[in-house]
């Protein structure tokens, strides 16, 4: 067994505060190159597997490729040192990264391509840096902006399109002139009913008449945004736009946006399964606080909770650049055994005086930046202006995510403060199920709010789902009495959403930002890109 020494030169060539190792070569040798595992996401349990061949190359590196020779061959370190940025990156990928697409011919089995969905420029830059640290320059990036073409039918999208044509759109061309022969997808589109103004023929004609121009506008927009983030495109990196037929991506009305930003990785074909395995082994060992991950792919230098930088909370908020918000700092004082802190114009909170940036907090920080409900731009802007809406809210369809987040909050706050209340969000796909549950209790499903996405008014349905949530998400069981309601939403499986007092945000977010970005951004007031 190899031993590790402290302060070894890490991936990317800089000195890192090592927490442990990803033992790629040892793992592949032990499993004879076979990688197999389960992905639990969106209430689905799916299997992935791949067989790899690997060989040692120079400088303690190994070359890995699928055993059948398909996909890419990539060289990586045989043992990858883990620092907290890498842990945070996997947390971020857990939230925003692709977990694989189901094979149409084998339900329940997935193939995995590494890609990442995120728009926030600082997070995209962080992810790109981490991918390059892991895989050096053997990989390339395709930055893709996806949009519903209905965006260009009204509002700012239409204005951009008009500007492109010199102020006015050309006269509409009939669909039969644009596409004399329709594709099967076109035919399906024309047959589908949708509750929007105008006809399917008109919408499809609009799409084909302006498709190239719309794509060009989106590509230029993405290029401009990337330039502002400071991401330098390398030789094989590309920027593309992916445009969907009107209303097929999620726009609810002309001019409505359903933008998505994807980061696809080239050069990693066939290696997605290994990447996922690393992420899940890392996450599992963090959650169970064990020095070695279930299959030994990850080995920490100690129990994960004993690792990481120790922070004196009083000192952090008094002196650290990350501990200041809009040039203000809180007042902290010890009262008996308690540390109490108060930000200007905020309520006093009890805090734990000593805090450790352990792997769990690092993973949770990345995961929250990906999935937390707090407006991301506020998290990056809070160092240079007064932030708005620093709510602490988190939604997840798996217990692991909820559990990690609750544990991270309890690193800083007393257990009673980490959750104010929780609810169950249910996407429209499962409204028929909610109606059935209502009927089983003799009542109709009464929605709340103007558009119906407020608090469900039917208590019987909310109460009927409480035991489902407590069983599916055991980590919320201590907070069973804080269950508030079911909330119908646009899309998604049934999932738990919890929130804590917003006044916790000013304590939590500076520590999370420090955890993720301290290694790359020394001065948070100037180092982040702000809209």
């Amino acid at each position: 067994m190899r031993t590790s020494s402290l302060n070894e030169v890490g991936i990317g060539g800089y000195m890192c505060d090592k927490l442990g190792w990803i033992l790629i070569e040892d793992f592949l040798a032990k499993t004879k190159g076979r990688v197999i595992g389960q992905v639990r996401s969106d209430a689905r349990i799916r299997t992935y597997s791949a067989n790899y061949k690997f060989e040692e190359v120079a400088d303690n590196r190994i070359a890995i490729q699928r055993i059948d020779g398909s996909g890419d061959r990539i060289e990586i370190k045989s043992r990858i040192p883990i620092d907290r940025e890498l842990v945070a990156f996997f947390g971020l990928y857990d939230g925003d990264g692709a977990k694989g697409a189901e094979k149409p011919t084998s339900p329940g089995f997935i193939h995995v391509n590494v890609s990442f969905s995120q728009r926030e420029p600082n997070l995209v830059r962080f992810a790109v840096d981490q991918f390059r640290r892991l895989f050096s320059h053997q990989i390339s990036f395709t930055f893709s902006l996806g949009e519903d073409s209905a965006y260009f039918m009204a509002g700012s999208g239409l204005r951009q399109l008009e500007n492109h044509y010199g102020g006015q759109l050309p006269d509409p061309i009939p669909l039969q002139d644009l596409r004399p022969i329709l594709t099967p997808a076109d035919k399906r589109y024309l047959e589908e009913p949708r509750r929007v103004h105008g006809t399917n023929e008109e919408h499809l004609a609009f799409y084909y008449q302006h498709k190239e121009i719309m794509q060009r506008i989106l590509t230029e927009q993405k290029m401009k945004e990337l330039r502002s983030t400071g991401i330098i495109l390398e030789k094989f990196d590309r920027v593309t736009a992916s445009l969907r037929r009107p209303f097929k991506k999620g726009a609810r009305e002309p001019g409505g946006s359903s933008r998505s930003d994807e980061l696809h990785l080239g050069g990693l074909n066939g290696l997605g399964e290994l990447f996922l395995k690393i992420m899940y082994e890392l996450g599992e060992s963090i959650l169970t606080n064990t020095q070695q991950s279930p299959q030994g792919l990850v080995r920490w230098n100690d129990c994960p909770s004993n690792l990481g930088e120790k922070i004196d909370i009083q000192d952090f908020f008094a002196n650290n650049p990350y501990g200041s918000i809009d040039n203000e700092r809180p007042v902290l004082k010890i009262c008996g055994t308690e540390l109490r802190g108060q930000w200007p114009r905020s309520i006093e909170r009890v805090l734990k005086p000593n805090f450790r940036v352990d792997p769990l907090f690092a993973y949770a920080s990345g995961l929250y930046l990906a999935e937390g409900a707090t407006p991301k731009n506020e998290l990056f802007a809070m160092y240079s202006r007064r932030p708005k809406g620093l709510s602490v809210e988190f939604t997840c369809s798996e217990d692991e995510g909820i559990s990690i987040m609750l544990k991270a909050l309890s690193h800083i706050f007393p257990q009673k403060d980490v959750m104010k209340a929780w609810k169950i969000k249910v996407g429209s796909q499962y409204f028929p199920e909610l109606v059935t549950i209502g009927l089983k209790h003799g009542v109709p499903m009464l929605r709340g709010g103007n558009s119906g996405d407020g608090k469900l008014r039917t208590m019987e349905i909310s109460l009927a789902l409480k035991s489902w949530a407590l069983e599916s998400f055991p980590s919320i069981q201590p907070f069973a009495d804080r269950y508030s309601h079911v909330e119908p939403t646009g899309a998604g499986v049934a999932r738990v959403h919890f929130w804590a007092s917003s006044s916790l945000g000013k304590w939590l977010f500076p520590l999370m930002m420090y955890t993720v970005f301290h290694g790359t951004v020394t001065n948070p007031k100037e180092g982040f890109i702000i809209d």
Binding site: F247, F431, V435, L439, K455, E460, Y483
Partner: protein
């Protein structure tokens, strides 16, 4: 005979019950008794409680009207939930609500036990919207387009049933009929059943929308019927089918009662109806409590209960009358 449209065919009198159903209902009655003593009660519990007690004992044994007057009334309006019941959810301030089904529960119980009836028709009249739909906007301002179809039709049926006892005095019934037929066939058996019953009370069943037979065929599953078809889960805006490979519609005695009631009233061939009846009876005779719960994709915990008081009552009706 007093009718209870929520359970078509149910007799409100002492009833011979399958042993499994009887035991299940007795257990449920014992559970709600505890809740009621803590003032935790809902209008739907009162309705089911009255029917369950009548079936088991031949008469209601609980002072349901007293409970409704004491815990389920505020500002002269029936409430769906008592204040204590509202506390079952954390800070759920919306517990104080008077939807149509709460008015209906009060009205139906008053009539059934021949208590002094209040003029609930006036309340229902106040709930009639310019669109012709009947609902209480104070419960929620949700626009008609995003209200659930079953809610709209169930409230229409309940409202019309109350209004009919007053001969629709001063009500332009055409407006109610127009609203009731303003939505094409929904694909949900409960929605179509309540639509049909509303039209019955309005004396306008000839206006019933088409496509019900096709819907019933789609909603058939092994043991009986489900309320919805998984294949018909379509996004309202995108128009495309949802990812439904893991979704499963399950047998529901209530949905089956509605399907059979619709089938008997529409032009479904009798031999087909008999086949459906026979299939569900066989299932319930073999397994009286074989009422499965829904699931959220691959997750093992049940997504809501399978057996509930209304489902067990419906299963008993299916065994008695079909």
């Amino acid at each position: 005979m007093i009718e209870f449209p929520f359970l078509p065919g149910a007799r409100i009198e002492a009833t011979q019950l399958n042993k499994a159903h009887r035991l299940w209902i007795l257990k449920w009655l014992a559970e709600i008794e505890e809740g009621i003593e803590q003032f935790e009660v809902s209008s739907s519990i009162c309705l089911a409680g009255l029917i369950a007690e009548t079936w088991i004992y031949g008469r209601p044994k609980t002072d349901w009207i007293g409970i409704m007057r004491e815990y389920l009334e505020k500002d002269d309006l029936p409430l769906a939930y008592s204040e204590e019941y509202g506390k079952r959810l954390f800070k759920f301030n919306q517990w104080k609500q008077s939807p149509v089904h709460a008015i209906y529960a009060r009205w139906w119980i008053e009539r059934t036990i021949e208590a002094e009836e209040r003029d609930w028709a006036q309340t229902i009249k106040n709930y009639i919207q310019p669109s012709g739909w009947i609902y209480n906007p104070d419960v929620s301002l949700t626009n008609t387009k995003t209200r659930m179809r079953t809610e709209l039709f169930m409230s229409m049926q309940m409202g019309c049933e109350i209004l009919k006892t007053y001969e629709f005095e001063g009500i332009p019934t055409d407006r109610l009929v127009a609203a009731t037929i303003s939505i094409p066939c929904t694909g949900y058996v409960s929605a179509e059943y309540f639509r049909y019953r509303a039209l019955q009370f309005l004396g306008a069943t000839e206006q019933m929308v088409t496509g019900i037979e096709k819907t019933l065929n789609k909603l058939q599953i092994q043991q009986g019927f489900a309320d919805f078809s998984v294949e018909d889960k379509i996004d309202d805006y995108m128009g495309s089918k949802k990812r439904i490979t893991r979704d499963v519609a399950v047998f529901s005695p209530i949905a089956t009662l509605y399907a059979l009631s619709l089938a008997c009233n529409l032009s479904v061939p009798k031999d087909l109806i008999e086949e459906w009846k026979s299939r569900v009876k066989t299932h319930l005779n073999n397994d009286p409590l074989g009422i499965p719960a829904l699931h959220m994709r691959d997750l093992a915990p049940e997504f809501g209960d399978g057996q509930t008081i209304y489902e067990v009552l419906a299963a008993a009706v299916l065994l008695q009358t079909h």
